[in-house]
């Protein structure tokens, strides 16, 4: 009912981002497609976080174009994409306070917020934790809340920056299952990781970054079997120099 036109695909063309004349990110061309699980892959410092921030609009390209389709291109329209940061900031409130606030900022009215929060808590397995101060949750619980908070506003596209990099294997699996479920329910997401095994498990499409450049953009099957660049081959064989 609230679905109007899709904001996808997201298209980047000739994008650079520079600080003090130093170019830190270069993306000649990239597309994020609806319904595809896009994994942004690369070693530390490759530019993955910068890429997400550019797509999400937290930083503006120095040159080039980052363009959503449809109403996504309209700055006045409500934002239809959300982001989960590598270190999500938990507001100094309870778990449900965090959810309520996110809904409030997205323009959901007071009574609708009260109505929606219990359902969201249940959906993300946070019901037991509803009244807990968010900052005392475990890492895995905080990450789940961060995803719930971002997904609560029903975005079409969700950016996730290394959502499992600080988690143990069990919590990592939970997060991956959660992401797969959300994808199954129609959410398109883009996540970064430096974890090759995780990329293999989750990716439909791969964007491979190295040294602040997008070096390869390909379907996962192609990227993992026939990488085109020496850097990607080295990364896949875990012998990548920084």
């Amino acid at each position: 009912m609230r679905e109007t036109t899709s904001i996808l695909p997201l298209t980047l063309a000739d994008v650079t981002w520079a600080v003090d004349g130093r170019t830190l990110l270069t993306v000649a061309a990239a597309e994020i497609h609806k319904g595809r699980r896009t994994v942004v892959l690369g070693p530390n410092g490759a530019g993955k976080t910068l890429f997400l921030k550019l797509c999400h609009g937290l930083i503006r390209p120095t040159a080039g174009r980052v363009a959503f389709s449809g109403s996504g291109g309209d700055a006045r329209a409500p934002k239809r994409h959300a982001m989960v940061f590598q270190k999500p900031v938990m507001l100094r409130r309870s778990v449900q306070g965090n959810l309520r606030h996110a809904l409030g900022l997205a323009g959901v009215g007071f009574f609708d917020r009260r109505r929606q929060v219990p359902a969201i808590l249940a959906e993300f397995g946070l019901a037991e934790l509803a009244g807990r101060p968010a900052r005392v949750l475990s890492g895995g619980e905080q990450q789940r809340l961060a995803i719930a908070r971002a997904a609560a506003v029903r975005p079409e596209l969700l950016f996730l920056d290394e959502p499992a990099s600080a988690l143990d294997p069990t919590a990592t699996r939970q997060i991956e299952e959660l992401l797969l479920r959300l994808h199954g329910e129609g959410l398109t997401w883009v996540m970064t990781t430096h974890d090759l095994a995780q990329a293999r498990r989750l990716a439909d499409d791969v964007l491979f970054f190295h040294g602040g450049r997008l070096l390869e953009a390909a379907p996962a099957a192609t990227f993992f079997t026939a990488p085109r660049t020496e850097e990607a081959r080295a990364f896949l064989e875990s012998r990548l120099f920084w």
């Binding site: 409500p78 997205a106 005392v136 908070r149």
Partner: protein, 234 residues
Amino acid sequence: MDGGATLTTMTASLIRAVDPAFLGIVLISLKVTLTAVGCAGLVGFPLGAALALGRFPGRSLLIVVTNAFMGLPPVVAGLAVFLLLSRSGPFGGLGLLFTPGAMMVAQFVLVLPIIVALTRQTIEDLWLEYRDQLTSMGADRLRAIPTLLWDARFSLVTTLLAGLGRASAEVGAILIVGGNIAGFTRTMTTAIALETSKGDLPLALGLGAVLMSLTFAINGLAYAVSRLGARYAG
């Protein structure tokens, strides 16, 4: 009879014995100081937050001035308020001089810079941490202010208590604009300052004890709030 009741009775009889006006003085002090600090909080919190997040010319100057005014000598504040409220002054028509209202204004002036400056620092630090997250969730700087104020609530209560400490201890400003009129503008500090030399030592000692208890209570409260804040801050 248990110990607490005995103590209460003793204190009560002591107060009556010392001076029937004792309680009145304490109440006037509390009324003036709490009103002044309360108003300073209502004005100072949003002002401090606006100063933290605002981008306008003269912002740096305003921050320096606010910081400097934290150390404003109470007698100077009193003198300034006196001139403003005196019959020939711009606000003379209000007839506030030598009333509790004048004392509230003077303490408001003294406490406001403290609250604005400390709030600005607190909110600015918090904004550094929250900026990307709040921006991502759709808040612009203006919309971020209430969020930041609420999330800084424990620090801000401490800020308020710092203001309360300054206001309850000062004598210079309220003496000048209040005049230490018995039963009307005589407060704990002005009474101690003026009645000691007139030989009313028991009154001064009693009030001094109340003031000290108040200071302890404020600090105890500040500690409790910071503990509570640590729980939420994780």
